[in-house]
Amino acid sequence: MWNWTAIALLICLVGPFVRCVRGDIVSRLVALEGASSICAIVLLCLAEADRRVPFVDLSLTLALLSFGAGLVFARFLERWL
């Protein structure tokens, strides 16, 4: 069940991917933020599917770092690009 959820969520990555390819620069940042949250949950599902509790840390780290990355990118777009 967890593996199928991860596969379904990976299919959901198509939307952000299309927006990254076709959108303007701010739309690409929005797509990146959406893709980051999807990827964090995919990692959680894969860790749960394999019953590997330490791998949940990967998901936690991605969720934490994507928050900082999104803020830095937004600030960068606002000031310098």
Binding site: M1, E33, G34
Partner: protein, 112 residues
């Protein structure tokens, strides 16, 4: 199939639906502000339902506690990111954050 399995399946389906809505919204909307709005279903429904499924499956073990932490992180970081992104989009589009003299916000809000 026990009741716990059914609850986990329902929560996983709910989470997938939230992220699918985000994905479709990103593809179908062309305005950046609408795209920012479409981030919400994934970050609220999806990011809470799937960690909740982990908690139902595992209980309040180490994995469950970390899943709660992930849900809280995604839930609270999403509005902050949305605000920062919308602010950047407006500054890029209008060259300033504050309303310009030629912008009529009362008309935009439907008050006139």
């Amino acid at each position: 199939m026990t009741g716990r399995d059914i609850a986990v399946a329902v929560l996983l389906g709910l989470g997938i639906a939230g992220f699918a809505l985000t994905s479709m919204g990103l593809v179908l909307s062309d305005d950046v502000y609408e795209q920012i709005h479409y981030l919400a279903p994934g970050s609220v429904i999806g990011a809470i339902a799937i960690p909740a499924a982990v908690v139902v499956q595992e209980g309040l073990s180490q994995a469950g506690a970390k899943a709660i932490l992930i849900a809280l992180l995604l839930f609270f970081s999403s509005p902050v990111l949305s605000h920062a992104t919308a602010r950047a989009a407006r500054i890029r589009r209008k060259q300033q954050l504050t309303p310009r003299a030629d912008e009529n916000f009362r008309r935009v809000r439907g008050l006139e």
